[in-house]
Amino acid sequence: MLRTRGFSKRRLGLWAGIGLVVVQALAMPARAAEGDASSQPTARPPGYGEVKVVVLGVTAPFFTFGLVKRFQQIPGVEHTSFNLLRGTADILVKPGATVSDEDLRRAVRNASYSIGSIQWVAHPSAVAAGN
C-alpha cells in the first residue's frame, strides 16, 4: 500500500514566507545599488581598437566569467565587457595589437559557446594608420 506523508499547508506556508522575506532582504540593497551599477559605455582611448562579438548561449553573469577570461587571454586584449541581453562582448584592443577573427572564434569555442558575428568598430592597425 502506498502511504503518503503530506506536508502540512501550515508548514509549507511558513517556509514560503521565510523564503520570501530572505529574498526580499537580499534584493533590497541590491536594488538600491542597481541604478549606480549601470555601466557607462567605455570610452575608447586614442589608438585603441574595438570589436563587438555576438556570442550565442550566454545566459547569466556566472557564465560570462570563463568567456571573458578566454578573451583576456588573447595577447593585445585590454578589456572585455559583456551585455547579456544583446549577447555582445565589447572588446578593447591595445594599439598595434594583431587580434584576428580566428583568435576571437577560438576563444568563444573554448568557452563552450557559439559565435554569432564579429564586427570591428575600429581595428588597431586602421586606427594607427589614422583611418
Binding site: 502506498l2 506523508r5 534584493a27 550565442l56 545566459t59
Partner: protein, 306 residues
C-alpha cells in the same frame, strides 16, 4: 543579426530522438535528496568551479544527519567536464533502541567520493539562450569511513565502503530569465563486507526564475534567482549477507524551494528539502522530516585544458 540566431552544432539527426528522450525525462520529473544535481550547463575549458554544500536533515525519532559535500568541476575541453564530489564530513546522530533501552549514538567521519565524467552531446545556442544534453558516467569510490561506530548499523555509518557506478542523462534549457534542468539516472553498488546498498533510479527536475535585476541590457554584476527543485528516488532494499534490511529501499520524493545569488565569480544558495512522498519497504525506517542545504561556490580559471 536578425531575431534569434541559432548556432546548431552536432548532427541535427540526433535532435528527434533526443527531444523525445527529454520529453520522457520531464514527464518522469523528480529524485533523491541529491539536490543541486549535475546539469548540462556550460563550463569553459580551463574553468574550475569549487562548491561546498553543507546539508542538515532531520528524521522522525530524533535522528539527525549532517554532511558537507565538496564538489570540484573542471572544464577539460569545451565539451568534456570532470566532476569530483567528496563528502568531507558526515555526522549521523540519534538514539538506538536495543532490548527496549535507548542509547544515544554519533557516527562521524569522512564520506565517500564520486568522480563523474560529463560530455556535452548536443547543443543549440541562441542570443541569451542555450539548450544542452549531456550524458555522464560516474564511479563511486569507497574513500570514507564505513565502521567508525560498531554500535550503529551500516546504513548510519558515514560511508558505505562500496564501489559503485552511476549513469545519467542530464539536460539544461537556459534563458536570460529562467532555467529548466532535468536528470534521469541509475546508481548501483558492488557491496562490501556483506553489506550492499540497493540500486536506485533517480529523476530530478529544477526550475530557476530570475527575480532581480530586471534590466539586463548592460554588464550585469549579479543576479538573484528563485528556485524550485524536485528530487525523486526509487531504491531497492539494502542487504546484509543477502538478507533484506527492513525499512530501507522504496521511494522518496522531495520538493525543494530556495533562492540563489550569483555573480560572475561566486554564488550562494539556500534550499529547503521538503518530503511530499516517502514509502519504505518494511517497518523501522526513520522518516524524513525536512532538510536544509546551503551552497557556496567559487569560480576560478586556469589556462590548462585539452
Amino acid at each position: 543579426m536578425t531575431g534569434i540566431s541559432l548556432g546548431i552544432r552536432r548532427g541535427a539527426w540526433l535532435s528527434g530522438g533526443l527531444f523525445a528522450l527529454l520529453a520522457l525525462v520531464l514527464l518522469t520529473v523528480p529524485a533523491r535528496a541529491q539536490i543541486t544535481f549535475p546539469s548540462a550547463a556550460p563550463i569553459s575549458a580551463g574553468n574550475v568551479i569549487v562548491r561546498t554544500q553543507p546539508t542538515v536533515t532531520e528524521y522522525s525519532g530524533g535522528l539527525q544527519s549532517f554532511y558537507d559535500e565538496n564538489i570540484v568541476l573542471y572544464g577539460a575541453s569545451p565539451d568534456l567536464a570532470f566532476i569530483l564530489e567528496n563528502k568531507s564530513i558526515v555526522s549521523n546522530s540519534g538514539n538506538i533502541v536495543t532490548n527496549g533501552k535507548a542509547a544515544a549514538f554519533t557516527a562521524t567521519g569522512f564520506g565517500d567520493t564520486v568522480l563523474d565524467t560529463r560530455y556535452n552531446l548536443y547543443e543549440v545556442d541562441g542570443v541569451g539562450s542555450t539548450f544542452r544534453i549531456a550524458p555522464y558516467i560516474g564511479i563511486d569510490m569507497p574513500t570514507g569511513m564505513d565502521n567508525v561506530n560498531n554500535a550503529v548499523p551500516r546504513d548510519l555509518q558515514p560511508a558505505s565502503g562500496e564501489w559503485g557506478t552511476r549513469e545519467a542523462l542530464t539536460s539544461s534549457w537556459q534563458t536570460l530569465f529562467w532555467n529548466a534542468q532535468a536528470l534521469i539516472g541509475y546508481q548501483n553498488y558492488a557491496g562490501s563486507g556483506g553489506f550492499q546498498t540497493g540500486s536506485s533510479l533517480l529523476a530530478d527536475a529544477a526550475f530557476h526564475y530570475l527575480i532581480w535585476p530586471s534590466d539586463l541590457d548592460r554588464e550585469v554584476p549579479s543576479e538573484v534567482f528563485a528556485s524550485l527543485e524536485s528530487n525523486y528516488s526509487l531504491s531497492a532494499v539494502d542487504r546484509m549477507n543477502g538478507a533484506a534490511i527492513s525499512g530501507t529501499g522504496g521511494q522518496l520524493w522531495t520538493i525543494d524551494p530556495g533562492f540563489l545569488y550569483s555573480t560572475p565569480t561566486w554564488g550562494a544558495a539556500m534550499t529547503a528539502l521538503l518530503p511530499i512522498l516517502q514509502q519504505y519497504r518494511g517497518p523501522g525506517a526513520a522518516r524524513y522530516d525536512y532538510g536544509i542545504e546551503v551552497t557556496f561556490r567559487y569560480s576560478f580559471f586556469t589556462y590548462h585544458h585539452w
